[in-house]
Assembly symmetry: C2
Homo-oligomer: 691 residues x 2
């Protein structure tokens, strides 16, 4: 439980200072200004006063219990004060100080020693190199943070790895009058971890929505588990900074973390039902809607506007973000006809025209909100000079409050009439400046609802020969090489993944038994780590139809590659099918990621792939298949198509194999031939590397 | 010349009214409030006073010349007042009144008659169903428009089809203290056209940037010509509303225009060097940068930040928008080391850290701006509580003013310190709230510069047999059918487009001569408008190697299709190559659009196509080829690839054919087989429909 951190009964500040530009001063000022509901104890060995607080020379001198300590003194001075905190029985240390992991080896050591020392007293360390925490709950009102955005109570909680990003998120909630609930910018995450904070937010009744920003995942598995438990009842909106290669390099120079985790983040978000964003402003705008509205029951949007152009922009943006335009029932249309001006346009958007007054808006909104075929409503309102603004605002609020369906309002007006915006916002209605923003915010809510309500299953029980695969994998452990073809195929086969018949050929006398096993037509391949581009080097002979041709092919090939002393593999030749690629990569701290795409060009050139966390459930496997742009090729364009169920089964088995053997660093089934319904696909080439 | 419209020496208002909510009143109020530099003449048959102006009963009673008249009376009353305006010698009529084209047939007739009447007096009509115009030039200061955004002088001119959209654009310029130059929201465009307005803006020295929004193009050719003349010296930023199918339906219900012009708009923008946007806010943000900064000379961005997280977001967004990260020279890096804190991170972004003061910012900016490898600079600044904000702002301005390179600043702060933002903006520096916005704005400038500076050529002179093609095309004019294969191939051949040898077969006796002409192996195809899916119905036989096989195939096919009385075509069988599709569609009012993509799935499923305006120049043809995602397939992934020059030549010839014959409603060369270098591609199937 993190109550001692987010609901401390008392806070001490080590590094308290009279210097108004120091962290130790600003934290005291923030705690005092936002009315912390417990005592504040500045600690300064020189004693004296800071603001209206008497300093103590050490935490040991404080006459009461201390839950939380904010520390901003030099990194090298920490061990001594941490010992004192431990003796005092402090629960949580927020370390603002820098000079740890982010500065290299020495800092890493210092960080580890700090955690060991604190933990030995039962204390948890938050940070270091961190901004701090906030809890706007009036019963606590703790602003143990050195930043400047005012803390107003709200229901959006924020957890951010980067201080500047976290501050940005609460700043823009503050700007629209929303405030926030809890806040944590956790810096180096040396001990107390992001998933623990997330879990705490998940359990906090005052947190209706969670916004998170990360640059790297220290414990992805824990994040995935925690997030998956939260999203069924509470939306999580997330940004992963560093989604481009260049961005991830910037992350590593900023945080000292080296792995590119962008694909992993997307896979985890999808699995956990987290709504992913790539733009900070759009995430904040979505949070504004989530904060006051309930997610829609479907994807059908209804729109009302008093000017055409922005309505069209809203339509374009809604469609591009996966919404569909609602259609009115005959009864609904009748009511629109009765209540709107003759020159109004009664399609979707309903254009009530610029002269529309309060009743026109009310009836249009009330009609759409009562339509069974409409799941959400966007209202656009340019403050035409012909109408009574306050009366229209009142009617918009009236219509909203009578419905559970989400409504967003877009207002085009100048500062003179900003009161109108405040009025609606105070009424719990999200207000935006651009039509596109309204569509996107509603689309985000629909995305969340879709993720939350999709079918969930455990990964299926599949009959596999784990021991058989384990025996082979173990043989190559620690070698970091691609394992020989015959063994690689055997691993797949142990997991019920359909492969061609194969046989190893080392010397000429292996040919006859191999041919007997494999049959004709067959394929002869060189199998050596030294021959990378087998086909280009003449290391693959296809269409071998007779024993004679096989012997000839072997002779030629063994002459060509003699120097490199390779082995060879003989394979059943499968008829060409639709090409598919399935891959798996070990993802340290998480397990394995599985990749799915169509053959060659679609993966290499079009980058049309889906990545997911192994092992997959049936719905997840299907989601991956349906998620690639090229899916119609599998489902069949103008007839055709492949046995989708059989591909799904293969994908499930590869994902189980990857999950069962995290020591498989890389695995590529490329290509897999998929065939029409009734025929199993076949993985005709495979590469497996064991770490 | 539109001086009488945008620089009127006097304005009369027909429909002038005491009712403060009427258009006729608001226009007078706006003209007066923003200090129109000429006389205002309210016209009202009842006489009397409106605000501080004496009404005239008719324009004929006005004792002075009238350049411009704003009309907001009922549509049916217009003819009489237009006559009077004509007799008075008025130059321009702004018609606010609705009830024209947008209400259907009667309105269309009324609109046409209005234009004829006005033109008969030498008057031009602006609108109807329009908002009006503005010119903030202090020498004129005309606000002949009924909206509410204040008119502050600026250098961005706006032309918008939709009133709500135009108002939105100037509203958000106003919100950042920029104002605008000229403004026109032109409604139905019955007479005076958007390209005329654009041309006028192009010639106006006070207009540095043009923002435009359209829903439909009435005269696309004129737009293309005008825009192409402007962009070499002045950026045009454009949004086409209705880019989705649903959006274009919304356009048609809003404006009465039916054609989906989204692909056409994109093609015209690219050809003319117009920067296209799909999001209103992003276009405004780009305009803010263009208004005060000069476009960069290249794509290399340098970044400075005092907090890591937003810097990473800026990097991600820059990369995704086509920029690259600048690298510092040894000398530059040395200067950074000398001038920045030890804990600063000196990569790109330069993280000057939160405690950085004015000199740190100055030296970082000055260093980057002087780097030869840096074309533009983004500065991020979170108002850390430790530093002197005003001093930093002064230093940022100082660094900017010493350089021609574009700079944008992103500031994260609360309202207390908004003075800092105003301060920078007054210094001519674009300021944004989110890091992503800064990257996108700079990327837009780089996009403009790239379009402006790319190689431009006239379409090449190609040797074609136009008369030969014309003879065939003429034969099918007005039939609206696909023309027979043999003729279709002959049209291509006349334009030097490589095709297989073909021969028509009508009866059995045609077989031998056809086979002689075409040779073996060959393909026999049924050729009938009634047989749509030839292959599926058994209407294509491939791999015919002998005369005997050909006769057998013909017998079988002629039995199968006997009832439908088709003709047949015999074709040389070409070896399979990389599949390409080239298409052309007549685009009324513009000419023809050409489409380019890879075969089948890439076009149908992946939608990976480029569309351009015919005829193409060589650089345009190459741009189309390189513009598809699948281009590496043509250029060769790991070797391979096709004869790009030969494909370019084919594309040029198809584009010329389409341009020469706008009566070709549709043309599809699908597939074209492209071959390795040295071998010409071959269009093995073609469909041409003549209107």
């Amino acid at each position: 439980m993190l109550d001692g951190l987010f609901k401390p009964r008392s806070v001490a500040i080590i590094g308290a200072s009279k210097n108004p530009f120091s962290i130790g001063h600003i934290v005291i000022k923030n705690l005092a200004e936002y009315g912390f509901q417990g005592p504040i104890f500045p600690i300064n060995p020189k004693g004296g006063n800071i603001r209206s607080f008497r300093c103590y020379k050490s935490v040991l001198d404080v006459p009461e219990e201390i839950d939380l300590v904010n520390i901003s003194i030099k990194a090298s001075l920490l061990p001594m004060v941490i010992k004192e905190c431990g003796e005092k029985g402090v629960k949580f240390l927020i370390v603002h100080s820098a000079g740890f992991k982010e500065v290299g080896d020495e800092g890493i050591k210092r960080e580890r020693e700090m955690v060991e020392l604190a933990n030995s007293y039962g204390m948890r360390v938050y940070g270091p190199n961190s901004q701090g925490i906030q809890n706007s709950d009036p019963a606590v009102s703790v602003y143990a943070n050195f930043t400047f955005v005012p803390m107003n109570p709200g229901n959006v909680s924020i957890v951010a790895q980067g201080g500047g990003m976290g501050e940005m998120l609460k700043l823009h909630l503050y700007n629209v009058g929303l405030g926030h609930r809890m806040y944590a910018s956790y810096g180096n995450e040396c001990d107390l971890s992001m998933p623990e904070i997330l879990e705490y937010y998940g359990q906090d009744e005052g947190s209706k929505v969670i916004m998170m920003q990360t640059e790297s995942f220290k414990d992805p598995k824990a994040f995935l588990e925690v997030a998956s438990k939260i999203t069924p009842h509470k939306p999580i909106l997330a940004i992963k900074s560093g989604r481009t290669h260049e961005g991830s390099v910037a992350v590593s120079s900023h945080t000292g973390t080296l792995v590119d985790q962008a694909a992993m983040a997307t896979a985890m978000y999808r699995k956990a039902g987290v709504v992913e964003f790539t733009d900070t402003h759009q995430m904040v705008k979505a949070a504004i809607a989530f904060s006051t509205q309930e997610p829609p029951k479907g994807n059908r949007i209804g729109m009302i506007t008093n000017t055409g152009g922005p309505g069209i922009m809203a339509v374009d943006e809604a469609i591009e973000n996966g919404l569909t335009l609602a259609k009115w029932s005959a009864k609904g249309l009748e009511r629109l006809k009765e209540t709107q001006y003759a020159e109004a346009s009664l399609g979707n958007p309903v254009d009530v025209v610029a002269t529309a007054g309060p009743d026109h808006y009310f009836h249009a909104m009330d009609t759409l909100l009562k339509e069974r075929g409409t799941d959400m409503v966007l209202v656009f309102f340019v403050t035409a000079p012909f109408v009574d603004l306050d009366a229209i605002a009142a009617k918009i609020k009236e219509a909203c409050s009578a419905s559970e369906k989400p409504v967003v309002v877009v207002i085009e007006t100048r500062e003179l009439w900003y009161g109108l915006i405040d009025n609606l916002r105070k009424g719990g209605i999200p207000v935006y400046e651009f039509a596109e923003d309204g569509s996107r915010a509603l689309a985000s809510m629909a995305t969340y609802a879709g993720l939350r309500d999709r079918k969930k299953e455990a990964p299926p029980r599949l009959t596999v020969k784990k021991a058989g695969a384990a025996k082979i994998v173990k043989k190559y452990a620690g070698k970091g090489e691609y394992i020989p073809q015959v063994d690689a195929f055997a691993v797949l086969q142990a997991y019920g993944i359909p492969v061609p018949k194969v046989a190893a050929i080392n010397t000429k006398k292996d040919i006859a038994p191999a041919a007997k096993k494999v049959g004709f037509p067959c394929v002869l391949k060189v199998d050596s780590a030294d021959v990378i581009h087998k086909s280009d080097e003449g290391g693959v002979v296809l269409d071998i139809a007779t024993a004679k041709a096989l012997t000839a092919a072997f002779d030629k090939m063994s002459k060509k590659f003699a120097r490199r002393k390779p082995t060879y593999v003989l394979m059943e030749q499968k008829p060409a099918g639709e090409e598919i690629i399935v891959g798996a990569t070990a993802s340290p701290g998480l397990g394995s990621l599985v990749m799915f795409g169509l053959g060659g060009i679609f993966v290499e050139v079009m980058k049309d792939v889906m990545v997911a966390v192994a092992p997959l459930s049936r719905p997840e496997a299907r989601e991956m298949m349906e998620g690639i742009k090229g899916y119609p090729v599998l489902a069949g364009v103008r007839g055709g198509g492949v046995d989708l169920k059989a591909v799904e089964d293969l994908l499930l088995r590869v994902s189980k194999l990857a999950a069962d053997f995290p020591e498989i660093a890389e695995m590529d089934l490329n290509p897999i031939f998929a065939y029409p319904k009734g025929k199993k696909p076949s993985a005709v080439d495979v590469r497996i590397k064991v770490s």
